[in-house]
Amino acid sequence: MAVFVTYCSLKYLAEYCLTKQYNNEADMVQKTVPANITEVKLYHRYHALAPEIVPRYFNDSADIKLPLELISEMPELKENPFHQKLLQVFSEDKQDNMSFNDFLNMFSILSDLTPQHLKAYYAFKVYDFNSDNFICQSDLEVMLGKLTGDEELSHEEVQLVCHKIMEEGDLDGDGKLSFADFEYMITRAPDFMSTFHIRI
């Protein structure tokens, strides 16, 4: 127990010193200071993805972008069936690249401090696979396919599930789920906040 405690304290001391030195250098190099420990941690992870390309210390003026394939190698994302769409939603330049700001944005939305409707907004964008601002029947079918992986449901079961969801969720009867419908549904599901959450 004592060994464990000493190890932890040493580790954190090291991290603290590193953060201090890092911020000092950042201060000298440019104007913005990284906000808090989480941002520093995330920058370390971002740097670890491609140490040759990404500079060691955060530099606001540098325009570093990493390709999405590199980011999807992260252990937190690799096994997630939705990770491709998730990365696409958060990459601003729509060319399959992610800058550090996008990366930070993504993990801050997926943290547990984000308000609910903001999470619902991004969840809607993730689940809208054909990007037409509606969750239609085809989106639901793709989603069920991703949820069940190898244990696929039969065609009639998929149709039945989609039909039931539309029945329950589609309030204005246009056969698709708009953002308002989705937000209404999802904010009533108490598990949403705890499942749409990634720890870093």
Binding site: Y16, N80, D150, A180, S194, R199
Partner: protein, 806 residues
């Protein structure tokens, strides 16, 4: 509440003239009313061209909702295609693509302009807007042209938003910025530009800063870094973030909630320990009473008797003296601050109970708020599809078992309807019912049997103890004999849940959730049946009449200590044998592929049992929270290790949000309430022993407070006397409960009203959907006919030209 369409054809000069091309692009739509009026114009134009009577009838009926309109029914049937984009012609599609519901989030400028509108509305209407004034949709309004235009000026919108944000107060500004779905860099820029949104994170370092400001900012940064460093060091002593991440990565949120609950209990115990140490233990330890010397044998750790008897651990050590603090030998003129030990004892424990009560009620209300919603009519299917994938899971194996889990649950929920549809026959229903009744009789019988057994055993144990001491049997043997009661209790706690699981397997349930609730109820009844007779035995008279026990409070404290320690040993043994050895047996001997599951319900109830014992024993053993904390820390790491190596994620349906609610409510109601009742009974009614403890000469522990208040009263302070009378008056409780009942009634009415509003709004949304479908159909018809008409005119002109030429 449909928007009433004004169909009267106004004077032509009021309406801008629309060419055919203009209809396709809504750039010329400046106002909602104009749109509707122009639309009406076009429709009347069309009807003039075609002169179809049925259409006119439909138009006249429009001011009401489309459904009640009789004319609608008389309209010729059209091919009712769903709003699928493939059945529309290009002109209609172009209009549809500009519909507000399809432009959400399309461009950053649109988002910014939408939030500009919201900020404007927020600033102008501080009070909650009336229902009739609420905008009918959350989408960008058609009033704001910029929202529809993809090329709208981002910079312009940003300036407008900034000007609005600057007029908000600081906290509202940050809140508004937090809720915007924009990139972090944009938000940071906005924050920097609005001077009143003081954000701690970014400190502007400008070259033009004066020397003083520069040092000030450097100081702020340094202090902040120290604070973060301290926090991260503090984290090292807390149960690690990484451990929780590993657990959630493999087992999901369900098992994680057990560990979070464990952490919560640890924090409660730490609080109790701090209070007791500062106010009770340290003052007494600095003024130790005269005690006989004893030797330390190893057995004390298990039995709590012997060396530990006359230490700060137990009630018997404390005296009923009053000391003065700040009275040193060197400083005789310092003011005397009397420290009354009995008062300190009772007030410390009473206030820690009170504060724990408040914290528990707060946690409970928060947990309830998260898991139960108003108007929650959504079945399981939506939750299963959209919320069942736990993004925290990262291990490949868990992910694959998750696929299987979700697929099974979806199939189950689909067959549920089939199951409910096929009514099981009467004989089968009777059979099920009889099996259920048998199961309940068995479990209730076993509960009563265990309770009675413990009651009789505790009485006979007391008799044996006094006989043993009279006969002069060696002390160590007598003490070891006292260990049999905790052993029996722990064995019951270990064995009975497995029996209940077996009984549960034999019964058939309609819903899998039912099985979990039934199993929790049975285990809970068992724990109550164990604790009830024990409390009765401790508070009862038999204990006090036994002559050999000089200090009954210390004896009760020692019993509780023994129970806790033996419980701890059994939990470790259960983890080792129940999980590790069982896994080895399962895989090697029985050749099953599955490892054993982590039984969340049983483990949580064990934790609650331990915590109840701690609360019960807080009066008699002030240092009990320390023992409990050590126990919890060790259990955390052992359970985590065993979990990683031996278990697999649970198959049963657990909703993570409901779980924490259930755990906390179980902690609050049977456990904490019972402990408070026992504590109050001890303080008010039981006579403390006359030879030990801080209340040795009194008839009841509460008499110390009464005496103290009287003493204060004699010194002239009437305040305490009146407040004491105030507190003791039962009328206060009636008043307080009356007030609570009124509050609950008020909240129920509010919830009821909200449900009605939700129903009305749902109906309105459905009506709006019908309106939309109707209008889109009309638009499509119009475009089609116009296209046909254009073709006709074109061919007519061609014919004319042709005929002219020839």
């Amino acid at each position: 509440m449909a928007y009433s369409v004004d169909l009267h054809i106004d004077a032509a000069d009021a309406i801008p003239v629309f060419s055919d091309d203009d209809l396709a692009s809504p750039d010329s739509c400046f106002d909602e009313e104009l749109v509707h009026n122009s639309f009406a114009n076009l429709i009347s134009e069309q009807s003039a061209l075609e002169s179809e009577p049925s259409v006119m009838i439909e138009m006249e009926g429009l001011p009401g909702t489309g459904i009640e309109n009789v004319g609608y029914i008389r309209s010729p049937p059209r091919a009712q295609c769903k709003l699928n984009d493939d059945c529309y012609d290009p002109a209609t599609l172009k209009v549809l693509s500009f519909m507000p519901s399809r432009t959400i989030g399309r461009s950053r400028g649109a988002i910014i302009s939408e939030y500009y509108n919201r900020t404007l509305r927020l600033r102008r209407q501080r009070a909650r807007p009336a229902l009739k004034d609420m905008s009918r949709s959350m989408r960008p309004s058609i009033r704001d042209v910029a929202a529809l235009d993809e090329n709208c000026e981002e910079e312009l919108e940003k300036k407008k938003l900034l000007s609005e944000l600057q007029q908000l107060t600081g906290s509202e500004c940050t809140r508004m910025l937090r809720t915007m779905p924009l990139n972090l860099s944009v938000k940071r820029e906005l924050r920097r530009m609005t001077s009143n949104c003081k954000d701690h994170s970014s400190v502007p370092l400008d070259e033009n800063l004066s020397c003083w400001s520069h040092t000030k900012y450097t100081l702020i940064i340094a202090v902040r870094q120290c604070w973060y460093g301290f926090l991260s060091l503090l984290h090292a002593f807390h149960l690690r973030q990484i451990a929780l991440k590993q657990i959630s990565g493999r087992f999901g949120t369900g098992v994680l909630s057990y560990f979070i609950f464990l952490k919560m209990l640890l924090i409660f115990n730490a609080f109790h320990l701090l209070m007791n140490v500062f106010f009770i233990v340290i003052p007494q330890a600095t003024h130790p009473p005269k005690i006989p010397e004893r030797q330390f044998f190893g057995l004390e750790l298990l039995t709590g008797i012997g060396y530990f008897t006359d230490t700060v651990l137990y009630y018997g050590y404390y005296t009923n003296n009053t000391w003065s603090i700040l009275h040193g030998q060197y400083n005789k003129s310092a003011p005397k601050l009397p420290y009354n030990m009995p008062i300190a004892y009772i007030y410390t424990i009473g206030s820690s109970f009170f504060i724990t009560c408040i914290i528990l009620v707060h946690c409970l209300s928060k947990a309830f708020g998260e898991s139960y919603r108003v108007g929650n009519t959504y079945g399981n299917l939506v939750t299963k599809v959209f919320c069942s994938w736990d993004f925290k899971m990262t291990q490949k194996q868990s992910v694959e078992s998750n696929y299987e889990n979700i697929s099974t649950r979806l199939k189950e929920s689909l067959t549920e309807h089939k199951f409910r549809a096929t009514h099981s026959s009467i004989t089968q229903w009777m059979e099920n019912l009889s099996v259920h009744i048998l199961g309940w009789i068995l479990s209730l019988g076993s509960v009563v049997g265990c309770g009675a057994g413990i009651h009789y055993y505790s009485e006979s144990m007391l008799k044996d103890y006094s006989q043993d001491i009279q006969q002069g049997i060696p002390e160590k043997l007598v003490e070891s004999r006292l260990l049999t009661l905790p052993l029996i209790v722990s064995v019951i706690n270990l064995v009975m849940p497995y029996i209940y699981n077996l009984i549960g397997l034999l019964e058939k349930y309609d819903f899998p959730q039912q099985q979990i609730y039934v199993s929790i109820t049975r285990n809970l009844l068992l724990k109550l049946a164990i604790l009830g007779p024990l409390c009765f035995h401790w508070m009862g008279n038999k204990l006090k009449e036994t002559a050999e026990i000089l200090c009954w409070e210390t004896f009760v404290g020692q019993e509780i200590y023994r129970l806790l320690v033996v419980d701890f040993i059994f939990i470790i043994l259960d983890t080792v044998f129940g999980e590790y050895v069982w896994r080895v047996i399962c895989i090697k001997l029985l050749k099953r592929k599955r490892k054993p599951e982590f039984d969340i319900a049983r483990n949580v109830l064990d934790l609650i049992f331990g915590q109840t014992l701690t609360w019960l024993g807080l009066v008699f053993v002030p240092l009990l929270p320390a023992i409990q904390m050590i126990k919890f820390l060790v259990i955390f790491y052992i359970k985590k290790l065993s979990l990683m190596k031996n278990c697999q994620p649970p198959h049963k349906l657990w909703q993570a949000s409901h779980m924490m609610t259930i755990f906390i409510s179980l902690l609050c109601f049977p456990s904490f309430l019972g402990a408070t009742v026992v504590f109050s009974y001890t303080v008010w009614y039981i006579k403390p022993s006359s030879s030990c403890g801080p209340f040795r000469s009194l008839a009841a522990m509460s008499d110390s407070i009464t005496n103290w208040v009287q003493k204060l009263d004699e010194n002239g302070s009437k305040f305490f006397k009146y407040s004491w009378i105030f507190v003791r008056n039962p009328f206060i409780f009636f008043l307080a409960s009356g007030f609570l009942l009124i509050l609950i009634y008020f909240h129920c009415q509010v919830v009821d009203g909200q449900r009605k509003v939700i129903k009305l709004l749902n109906e309105q949304i459905a009506n709006e959907g019908e309106d939309k479908k109707f209008l889109i159909d009309k638009l499509q018809d119009f475009n089609r006919k116009k296209f046909k008409f254009q073709n006709k005119r074109l061919t007519q002109r061609e014919d004319e030209v042709y005929s002219d030429n020839y």
